[in-house]
Amino acid sequence: MKELIDKAKELLKEKKVETVIGYREIRGCVVPAYVDSPCDADCLIFDKRCVYNLANYLKWFKNKNVALVLKGCDAKSINVWLQEFQIKRENIFIIGVECYGVMNEKSADAGLSDKCGHCEAHVPNIYDAVIKHQGDKKESVQGEPFKDIQEFEKLPHDERWDFWKKQFEKCIKCYACREICPMCYCKECIVERNIPQWIMSSPSVKGNFEWNMVRAFHLAGRCVECGECERACPVNIPLMKLNKKLIKEMKELFDYSAGQKEDVKSAIDDFYPEKDIKIDDKMIR
């Protein structure tokens, strides 16, 4: 991690950035770190336990210039932010980190989280500096990425409905899935508006279903599969199952995956009449 610390010290010494947002370890677990003076940059680390998507903290560092330590999957969210004109590229210095999988906190054996099983962004696709990976470069197991989604789709529809109804019944509307997701940056979320009251604010079955569904809709073609929402959910709702379904559809229907390039239009507001023809015959009368 010496390379990462030197890079951070160099940036801070030359006053290129005000703060470096990275990871540090206290009392045995890894937490986000905010380093704004070169001397205390030694606490920066990067290893299997660095699961947070630090791009999310840009919500509170919007017009300051900061440096971010980002893995491959997190750096994709910067691409989506740039696509949606949320930040200026020159304000952000991205310290890309080569990563071969992070830990899944919720599994008993703390193995790799399942997004890393089929990861193809070991090196971030947008960076200003790259920190090489020490340790074994175990190639990720190229399993079928959407196998669990395809199995779930084969179930009859009322069985699927009961599954999601039982999951959303647990939801306590703490909105951790919204606050931890870099894609949810609206000033006032739809759930906080009461004229008209589109989404019921109390944690009822209807209210939870409306909330979780509308949140998933807003991630179509924008979710970079960083897996933070499922990790943050205190009642273990499999939110990534919904997002992965959307990612699969966007890939199949529009051959689009989020966060690849920063200058392309996002899928939902783009269209190709000739390519979208194949949707027409099946779905639209």
Partner: protein, 357 residues
């Protein structure tokens, strides 16, 4: 008064038989159940589904006394003006409950909660019951609930219940019955109130032998030794309101609602009208719209102000108003925080931060 015979030994099946007996008497039995490798206190119809090997449930027991969503008034049914009475009698059709127009709430027994949760209800009783305006919804549920607590044999590294005066993993404060698993199939049950005695009506069970009582002592000692966290609130907390450390400590907080909802003692709520019902539901003070006035002004707009308010309400304001901290040390806010903020750590840093004048 409680009969002289307070402690006795009982086996697991007998305990299950008693719990099944409770369900048979049409009393709602709430017990820990495992769902997606997390444990929740839920209504259980047969005693087999109860989970026994859990550290603590995700949602605290306040969920069953001060529910997450509760219908206060039902003024629908199209009558103009609205026929204004409480929710129709849930159990027996339309007639109103004569005793103080409150909807009849079923008797309930909560089994398997931890001593810290049982104590949290003692803390919550003060703001809800011992003030000029008594919350009748909370009062009725509280009186109709019997708490059978299960002592903690191995507390987690996020637990700090022993930092509170009647706290501790084996504390019997607030519960009607305290069970301790002394052996593989052996529970030491201690009755602490009339309500508890009603459950174990005619206990023809063996008295605990001296050897079992000794085993209880060292189980208690081991359990207390496992608690490695302690709470140290700086005395001059009010003067440290302006400390700059609040700003730096609140940087990684994402202002979600987890530490407020899962805290055993947070009790803020919203009242809204949905369709033809007035209901109240939990709301955390970390949301920006929590203090939004109709003029659009928000009194605690900055994230650090909202972060700071939670600490001040729990460890300064509540102590001034009610004489005790609004916390029982269940440690859920540390365990479930998505960015692993530990409030004892923050209080420690704030305590020894030289307060810039």
């Amino acid at each position: 008064m409680i009969s002289e015979m307070k402690k006795f030994i009982i086996s697991k099946n007998e305990l299950k038989k008693i719990l099944a007996g409770i369900v048979a008497e049409n009393i709602k039995l709430i017990a820990p159940v495992s769902r997606d490798n997390a444990f929740f206190l839920e209504e259980v119809s047969d005693a087999e589904k109860i989970a026994w090997d859990y550290s603590n449930v995700v949602k605290p027991v306040k969920e069953h006394i001060f529910p997450m969503r509760e219908v206060l008034l039902d003024f629908g049914r199209g009558t103009d003006p609205p026929a204004l009475d409480e929710p129709e009698a849930r159990s027996s059709g339309k007639e109103k409950n004569p005793a103080g127009n409150m909807p009849p709430v079923k008797e309930q027994v909560i089994f398997g909660l931890r001593p810290c949760d049982a104590r949290s209800l003692l803390v919550l009783d003060k703001p809800f019951l011992q003030e000029k305006y008594v919350d009748s919804y909370y009062k009725e549920r509280r009186e109709k609930t019997t708490l059978i607590a299960m002592a903690c044999l191995n507390p987690e590294k996020t637990c700090l219940c022993s930092s509170f005066e009647n706290g501790g993993p084996f504390s019997s404060a607030g519960s009607d019955v305290l069970c301790v698993q002394t052996g593989q199939d052996e529970f030491l049950v201690e009755i602490l109130s009339e309500k508890g005695e009603k459950i174990f009506k005619n206990p023809s069970f063996a008295q605990p032998s001296g050897e079992v009582l000794k085993k209880l002592e060292n189980l208690k000692a081991d359990s207390e030794a496992k608690i490695c966290k302690a709470l140290k609130v700086p005395e001059n907390l009010r003067e440290l309101f302006e400390a700059g450390t609040w700003e730096t400590e609140s940087l990684s907080c994402i202002a979600c609602g987890i530490c407020r909802y899962l805290s055993a003692t947070c009790y803020c709520f919203n009242i809204t009208d949905e369709f033809e019902q007035r209901l109240r539901y939990w709301i955390p003070c970390s949301f920006k719209n929590y203090t939004k006035m109709t003029s659009g002004e928000i009194s605690r707009e900055k994230k650090s102000a909202r972060f700071k308010h939670w600490y001040f309400h729990k460890f300064s304001y509540h102590k001034d108003n009610f004489g005790e901290y609004l916390c029982v040390g269940c440690g859920r806010c540390i365990k479930y925080c998505p960015v692993k903020i530990d409030f004892t750590e923050v209080l420690g840093k704030i305590g020894n931060s030289k307060q810039e004048q």
